[in-house]
């Protein structure tokens, strides 16, 4: 996100980003925590409140914009990226945020998602992944695990799930990250990093739906076990994790594996590099129980930003002779005059 509006903004606080609408998620829903972290980060980004726009689809997660006291558009199921594209293209100076769910973004909205990523508009997309359809009361989603028993899969789902990070990479995303609803600090940091990225930022946030899919992320959120199940990524740092930072990731030929750090040459441990797509692919592929769950910034590269290319073409066209002249528009080509 570029900071386009440099008018000295009044010092904003979290309160400035709370709307007057009562927050209506189930008590205990992970969405509350995400809302709180985003509201904490927004005042610090140096953007006037009126220049923020939150765009969402349909789903529990997509109610988000109602609670943030900025401009907001609660659109249609799956269509937020399309609508946000129009906003950003027509108003590049705005800070555009897309809030979506695993069903909204990856099921009905899959096409708009992959296209906004490949085009690389400078927007931030926060995908609240609770691995379930919350709003429609608990059907499996494209991220639910195989065999999941839900209302619509009484004998267990036979769908193989997407790995959201890998899909984003396949769609040419330039920024890919993951965080967790309850990891307040980490989540804030990732939201900041997403904002800082110049281009489309794809952030998967693991979010607990305590009504229809409670505990889906227990392994990575449970205080007792999380150290062994989170692989916290830092650019340029080795991929080490576990309670005593005893485990690491290394390559075995062209496949990654978990090793005990003590057992291997320290140089063999993979070093994270947010610019390397192959590493991003490896990390996106890692799933429990074989691997820890990577969190942090997985991938972060630069590529031309869509609306800037557009602005450039518009600017160039506006500099041509007769640009904007209606006479030249209408009175052109083979004309003839009758008198």
């Amino acid at each position: 996100m570029s900071i386009a509006n440099l008018n000295e903004p009044a010092k904003l606080t979290r309160k400035d980003f709370e709307s007057d609408q009562e927050v209506r998620w189930c008590p205990g829903c992970g969405d509350y925590a995400i809302l709180a972290q985003v509201q904490r980060v927004l005042p610090d980004l140096g953007i006037p409140r009126e220049n923020y726009v939150f765009v969402s689809g349909i789903g529990c997660s997509s109610r988000f914009p109602y609670y943030v006291n900025t401009y907001g558009f609660h659109t249609l199921h799956g269509r937020a990226p399309a609508i946000a594209s129009g906003i950003k293209m027509s108003r590049p100076e705005l800070s555009v945020w897309i809030v979506t769910g695993d069903g909204d973004a990856l099921s009905i909205g899959g096409n708009h998602l992959i296209h906004i990523l490949r085009r690389n508009l400078d927007v931030n997309l926060l995908l609240f992944n609770n691995q379930i359809y919350g709003l429609t009361k608990g059907q499996y989603s494209p991220t639910s695990e195989p065999g999941k028993v839900t209302k619509s899969s009484p004998e267990g789902s036979i769908d193989n799930p997407f790995k959201p990070l890998v899909l984003a990479l396949g769609a040419e995303a330039t920024f890919i990250a993951r965080s967790i609803d309850v990891e307040a600090k980490h989540l804030q940091e990732i939201v900041r990093r997403a904002h800082a990225h110049h281009g489309a930022s794809f952030v998967e946030i693991l979010q607990n739906c305590n009504i229809f899919n409670d505990g889906a992320f227990d392994d990575v959120t449970n205080r007792g076990t999380k150290a062994d199940h989170q692989l916290i990524l830092e650019d340029g740092k080795p991929m080490i994790f576990g309670k005593d930072r005893a485990q690491g990731i290394r390559m075995n030929g062209m496949r990654p594996e978990v090793v005990r750090v003590a057992d291997v040459d320290a140089n063999d441990i993979l070093i994270h590099d947010v610019k390397n797509p192959v590493l991003a692919y490896l990390l996106g592929q890692m799933t429990a129980p074989e691997f820890p769950t990577p969190i942090g910034v997985i991938y972060d590269v630069d590529r031309p930003v869509y609306e800037e290319g557009l602005q450039e073409q518009l600017r160039h066209a506006r500099e041509q002779p007769n640009a904007g002249d209606l006479e030249a528009l209408i009175y052109t080509g083979d004309t003839w005059t009758v008198s």
């Binding site: 900025t70 594209s85 129009g86 293209m89 557009l310």
Partner: protein
């Protein structure tokens, strides 16, 4: 002959004709669209009134020489005011057997038939499905047949051009155009200028086409084949500056003009589809007018992005044809609910489903009116002629921004690709459409309403102090907050309906051609205007009590329409569909209107209108 010559000398006898309809037909590769267009332009410059109808083959280029590959272009030129490209050709130029076969049935007995004899090879005859050669089996005896060696003469004319044989033969169409230019005494300059511009980058092609063109002209002049030339004198036309324009082009210019007058950037979100794609192509060239075009991943994204741009404050447009309309309907419903301005252009084609992509039809009217779940009223307008696409675009922009509503524009394949002379508006006469976003926080609610228009304010992101959220769930009256309250819902549904109904105040009194009351009113909309107008004028000349009303507002309907209909014994509604407007006027006014439905992917003929009205008169 010199290049500078404006008209060719009338060195043979000249026969004056009032009106002539010429159809150029050939293989897709033969350049018939270009030939027709150039002939049309020259005729326009010669002062005739004109009307044209291109007829493309199905989308994929069929193998050369087959019926599926035939491409046609019909032009009507007249010393009078005309309204259509003509029912049947007086002259048919057929560049190969397939073109002959596909078009001959439309040529009346004694019509002029110009053929390229050499194209009637055994192979080509077989491809066209001729068992015998029509040139020799006597089947063409009832026409004025001119069977020429076009290919050979073109080759001769270009023998030292240095071009390959393939390129030489590509010049056949300019030879033909030269001949026709001579035959109808059109000026040479426009075509020569066109050739200069088109082939500016390739000297040898420039020279070759110029030579072929002149050779065709000279051939007419010198050969013994044609006993006379024809003259179609200039029509009495309203003074002013003209330009020949297709509906799609006029629509583009209208949208850009309106955006400039509204002082808004224009944003098009679209996905290519026949016959709407050219609007995307043309608007893409207007970036200098603050026009952004976005080729989206699909129609849903196209209209979605447009709606986003509308929220952002742009003049938002989406363009498509039937299949795309289906896909866009959910998002248009959101535009209705959020009350954002949005222009939806549907360039109708033959349906249902993929249907007849390159043919014309008017069968999306009911989908435009009712194709969204829930009660989701929109304004629906339809242009009557190619140049009216300019006017209607301006009207649409005015209404969309004034009433904060989606507006459908129902054009069709016939208007989109057909052309007519457009009397160019004076720049200073263009309306002021200036739009003001609301910036005043005092008294602001997202759904506070203008008492006259019932429109809500347009507040764009970036406006301090007016931060708000909108969405597709029912809104509380005034605040716009989510509301599930029963009475609020009823109020809002009725309010949206009322707002659109109120647009009726923008509609001028319905104009009648013909008497104020009488036996038959022919009620039309959209592209049937030309055929109906010509038909009704002809009936009026016969002294019959027939009138015509052509409506441009399909929703809301003109406030005086019920009254107008009630003054006639019969109401006839010709439509290129199974009776869409018919249903609406019957429901609205309880008049026993009668439909006249032609669903053939092509426009009504004037004669069809005339006959149908007469039949109705006979029935009493």
């Amino acid at each position: 002959m010199n290049d500078g010559q404006t008209t060719s000398p009338a060195s043979k006898d000249t026969q004056e004709v009032e009106t002539v309809v010429i159809r150029f037909a050939g293989d897709s590769g033969d350049g018939m669209q270009l030939t027709g267009t150039q002939f049309t332009n020259a005729s326009a410059l010669a002062g005739n009134d004109i009307g044209t109808l291109p007829d493309f083959p199905a989308e994929i280029r069929a193998p050369a020489g087959t019926l599926a590959g035939v491409s046609g272009f019909q032009v009507n030129l007249s010393h009078h005011e005309i309204f259509t490209p003509g029912d049947n050709p007086d002259v048919l130029v057929a560049m190969n057997p397939a073109a002959l076969k596909a078009n001959l049935e439309d040529l009346p007995t004694n019509g002029i038939l110009i053929l390229d004899r050499e194209a009637f090879s055994d192979l080509n005859l077989k491809k066209a499905g001729y068992a015998q050669n029509p040139l020799t089996d006597g089947s063409l005896d009832r026409y004025q047949l001119f069977s020429l060696d076009i290919a050979r003469m073109t080759t001769l004319a270009l023998k030292d051009s240095g071009l390959s044989n393939k390129h030489v033969l590509r010049c056949k169409n300019f030879f033909t155009l030269g001949l026709m230019t001579w035959l109808y005494q059109r000026p040479l300059e426009p075509v020569l200028n066109f050739i200069s511009a088109r082939f500016a980058k390739n000297e040898s092609l420039l020279d070759a086409n110029r030579r072929a063109f002149k050779a065709g002209h000279a051939f007419g002049e010198t050969s013994e084949m044609f006993a006379c030339q024809y003259e179609v004198r200039p029509a009495e036309i309203r003074p002013g500056t003209y330009r020949n324009i297709t509906g799609n082009a006029a629509l583009c210019i209208g949208l850009v003009t309106a955006a400039r007058r509204a002082q808004l950037p224009l944003y098009l979100g679209s996905y290519p589809i026949t016959p709407a794609s050219d609007i995307l192509h043309e608007l893409a060239t207007y970036k200098g007018y603050d026009v952004t075009t976005f080729q989206a991943e699909d129609e849903i994204a196209g209209v979605g992005a447009a709606l986003g741009a509308a929220f952002g404050g742009a003049l938002a447009v989406t363009t498509t044809s039937g299949p795309g309309i289906d896909l866009k309907s959910e998002t248009i419903g959101l535009a209705v609910k959020t009350e954002l301005p949005l222009i939806v252009c549907d360039i109708q084609r033959g349906g249902p489903s993929t249907g007849l992509p390159t043919k014309t039809e008017q069968a999306d009217l009911l989908a435009a009116l009712y194709g969204r779940h829930g009660d989701a009223p929109v304004v629906v307008l339809a242009p009557s002629t190619p140049s009216d696409c300019f006017e209607i675009a301006i009207e649409a922009v005015k209404i969309a921004t004034k009433y904060m509503t989606p507006v459908y524009l129902l054009s069709d394949g016939y208007l989109a690709n057909g052309a007519e002379p457009w009397l160019l508006p004076k720049i200073e006469d263009l309306p002021d459409l200036k739009v003001e976003y609301r910036t005043e926080a005092q008294g602001y609610y997202p759904y506070v309403r203008d008492p006259d228009t019932l429109s809500r304010p347009w507040v764009v992101p970036g406006t301090p102090g007016l931060e708000h959220r909108i969405g597709g769930i029912e809104s509380e009256y005034l605040t716009g907050n989510i509301s599930y309250a029963p009475m609020n819902h009823e109020q809002m549904v009725r309010l949206r309906e009322q707002k659109i109904a109120g647009v009726a105040r923008e509609i001028p009194p319905t104009e009648l051609i013909g008497p104020e009351s009488g036996d038959v009113l022919v009620l039309g909309w959209g592209s049937t205007y030309g055929a109906i107008t010509a038909g009704v004028r002809s009936l009026l000349k016969e002294g019959l009590a027939v009138s015509q009303a052509h409506i441009r507002f399909l929703n809301p309907l003109p406030p005086d329409l019920g009254d107008v209909l009630s003054r006639f014994k019969h109401v006839l509604v010709p439509e290129m569909n199974m009776g869409h407007l018919l249903k609406i006027v019957r429901a609205e006014y309880l008049v026993d209107a009668v439909g006249f439905n032609k669903i053939q992917g092509r426009p009504f003929k004037v004669q069809e209108i005339i006959s149908r009205v007469k039949k109705l008169l006979e029935e009493g």
